[in-house]
Amino acid sequence: MNFLLAAALGVGVLVFAPLVAHLLRRGRTPERVFPPAALVGRLEAHSKERARLEDRTLLSLRAAMVVVLAVLGATPLVQCSRLSVDRPHGASVALALIIDDSHSMRAEVKAGRTRWDEAILGARQLMRSMREGDAVAIVLSGKPARLALSGTTDLKTARAALEELHQTDRSSDLDAALELARSSVKNLQQPDRKLVVLSDLAGSVLAAPDASAPLESLRQPIDDCGLLVARRQNDRLSVSMACSKAASAARGLHVIAAAPIESILSEPARLTRLSLAPRPGTQALSFGLLANAPDFEIELTPGDANAKNDRVHVSSEGAQLNVAVVTDASHASVITGGPTVIEQALLAVRSDASLRPLSMLPDETKELETYAALVLNDPTGLGPETRAALGQWIEHGGVALGLLGPASSNLSLSATLEPFAERGARWEANRVALDVDAASVEWLGQDARSLRALTRGGRMRLDGAGLPGSASAGTWQDGVPFLLRRPLGSGLVLSAGLPASVEYSDFALRPVFLALLEHVVSEAEQRRGPGITLVGEPWIFPADKQVRIEGPLGPLAVSAEGCESDGNPAPNCAPGQQSATPELAGRYTIFSDGGQQTRSARIDDHEISDAPGSAEPSTATAAGAGESGAIDASPELALALLGFFAGELVLRLGSEARRRRRAARALS
């Protein structure tokens, strides 16, 4: 601080001058002896009251004028705490704003202001400090990381794009966002490129040398507990909740329903006695439910820093991922007994899935409706009624995996393998262990390399057995299809050329089998679903369906491949695959092709339990976009000063007129 700045700000000390003058003036009320004082009308109360009201307002105005004058004198030397772009070389800057739109940013850090509000405010301040020739890109770090605005020098557009951003309940994906931000400014012409992260950095440490995280206020610990999911499993209600490390007050659960609580819970008193200690991390609760209990919501009380995660809906529909497994236990079980290999593998993939071993396929669609996925091991053929029911179920979003084996090649006269394969599929006995082409199944991830020497007694030849619409999703080394993929309506059919039985192959014992089941389950979740997915995970729908989704805040946008125009579906377009991504936690109703289903999007528990992260000091200093900068606010201050003067004038005129009227009334 130099002398000039100190002197200018020193004028601010005179803010006390009006106060002192006021006190002196009040103390120096002229006093004199006047014998006939008793004949003088008393105006004491009115004059005191008027003096107080008038003087206070005038005092405030004059004090404000002094302060404004002081700042005006110090401007533009005064350093404001608002964010601004640092320009060490004075050249144009390419700025990538990484704004965290994850759920944790919805927590309140000040009265009525959330982290998101603070982040947007910081972004606005940064935008305001940008000059002509600067470029800006906006990246949202909610999972998956997205580019909200590609690098542009049109600052007006950038500001408009910033104002259109909104809060979501997504998880956080900061690493991907940083990569996206780097790539968005990499090819820009500006010599200085800066990445500014406006995030609470929940659970992470920002160590990127080219990024800065200037807003420390976003990283204050908060007292937050939230409900993640409430599942209804037959007669049990399972509730998952998470708390932050800074959570301190005990919470309670309340049922919100139109029906009395006695018709919902078997032990309602237990809920009223419940007092949840704020344990950092997640915890699970379980309650007994009465049969035919209606839908209801549960709420966590009292409220905390983030009220958006204190309430969750408990629905009877789609609460769980149901997977049907149709297999001959005598062939698909391990020697030690217990569940079949398929069931064990499915439980390893998704422990929360509900498995239903079936001895035979139902021949009515209604019986299949409760399942999201179906694994059929070495079927002996499907009869007409079964095929019709299965086909209809798949078209409505079911995902079926057929593990075809020797039994599948011995079909009776009326049975076929549809919808998995045509009758042309045949079992080929072969003593030589065959390999699957790892490259053809790379989409299954690293586990694809575990497909060497897979066969033990033969394989199902699927070449020429593919039904219309089938495509090879994996091949043997000799080019024969190993896995067929066939979208059918809203659903999906996968046909593998090996059964799960260990008698014929090691397929079920290889890691790739788990990857394949994981794929089946995730496809089922997306298409028919357990009803509960993480916020930000897309829901995929077939292209030939009219899909409409109603979410917690109204309709949810559905996008179609190749039919997007400015982010909105274009009319009169034959779209490809349709998808929608829920951005808020809550319950969604999906209307597609005359059908209706309910899904829920839940919050990632890390968004609540992870404490705010930190930025390494070297990171913040290296980035160079921070909370400093000379702000010339002279025009605004001068305008404010003018306003104050006008205000005083109006106040004086008004108060004088009022004073006269009141005095006249008092004396009369």
Partner: protein, 303 residues
């Protein structure tokens, strides 16, 4: 004796007062007056009907025999008129505003001295009494230049202090012995600001004018009190008592002047009902005019 008196008397002031009183009295001199009254005397003036209580010595027996009516004989007589000066010397009379040259008490003393001079030259006896005040003694009724000199001494020594009671009983007690002992025909001149007499003031002071006596109230006001030329917020403190009033003088002026006029009107009406008169003067006015107004009032004319 003289040295003892010097402790309490400002001889210079006394001389100045003497000169001023003479000047004023000379200016106001209206000639020797005849103090006529009917009653016992030398020159027959007629009859009137007898009233119970009349002295039976003046019963006209011849008229009784001739007309069979009880008649009382009346005579005109040359008599002296006693002047009793009553000077208010309470604390409020010590007030003098910045623009005034005299305190109200000083002005009242000047008027009293001039009236004494006038009375002495007319051969009328003069008595002097004070309401409140300190250091001075009331003077009994006496005539001659000696009475004038003694009046000057006391008027010079008087120091304003004390208060008058608000209640009627207190006021009557303060005036007791002054009015009752005065003979018929006595002219009472009360010099006061009339501000501390309260509600009972007009009645009590007017009572001095009963029983064949004549009462003239002279309200002495400072120009500040008479005109109230103040402006803006002001805190006013009464010189007697603890009364304080905070007001806006500009806004309160009209109402004050109305209240003052109402007070004067009350005194004037009550006095006139008893044959008296109210004379209003300011300390910045010519004292000659004031004395003339008092003398006119004493003769029953408008001041």
């Amino acid at each position: 004796m003289r040295s003892e008196l010097s402790k309490h008397l400002d001889w210079a002031a006394l001389g100045r007062l003497r000169l001023q009183a003479r000047r004023i009295a000379d200016g106001a001199w209206v000639g020797v007056h005849s103090s006529r009254r009917r009653g016992a005397g030398l020159e027959f003036a007629g009859h009137r009907s007898y009233a119970p209580g009349d002295d039976l010595r003046w019963l006209d027996q011849r008229a009784l025999l001739r007309h069979e009516r009880l008649l009382i004989k009346q005579f005109d007589t040359e008599t002296e008129r006693t002047l009793r000066l009553l000077v208010d010397a309470t604390a409020s009379m010590g007030f003098r505003s910045e623009t005034a040259t005299l305190r109200k008490l000083d002005y009242a003393a000047l008027i009293a001295a001039a009236l004494t001079r006038v009375a002495v030259r007319s051969g009328d006896p003069v008595g002097l009494d004070f309401l409140g005040g300190a250091e001075a003694q009331p003077l009994p009724v006496a005539g001659g230049l000696q009475a004038f000199e003694r009046s000057l001494v006391e008027l010079t020594r008087i120091v304003p202090s004390g208060t008058l009671g608000d209640s009627r009983a207190e006021l009557e007690q303060a005036l007791a012995g002054i009015g009752q002992r005065a003979p018929r025909g006595t002219v009472f001149v009360v010099l006061s600001d009339l501000l501390e007499f309260g509600e009972a003031g007009p009645d009590v002071l007017s009572a001095l004018g009963t029983g064949g006596r004549h009462a003239i109230l002279v309200q002495v006001l400072d120009p500040l009190e008479a005109l109230f030329p103040l402006d803006g917020p002001v805190r006013l403190r009464a010189s007697e008592g603890t009364l304080e009033v905070e007001t806006n003088a500009t806004l309160a002026r009209a109402s004050y002047l109305e209240a003052l006029a109402a007070l004067q009107s009350r005194f004037r009406n009550t006095l006139r009902a008893h044959g008296g008169e109210l004379v209003i003067c300011r300390t910045d006015e010519d004292p000659v005019a004031t004395v003339r107004a008092i003398l006119r009032a004493a003769e029953g004319r408008a001041p």
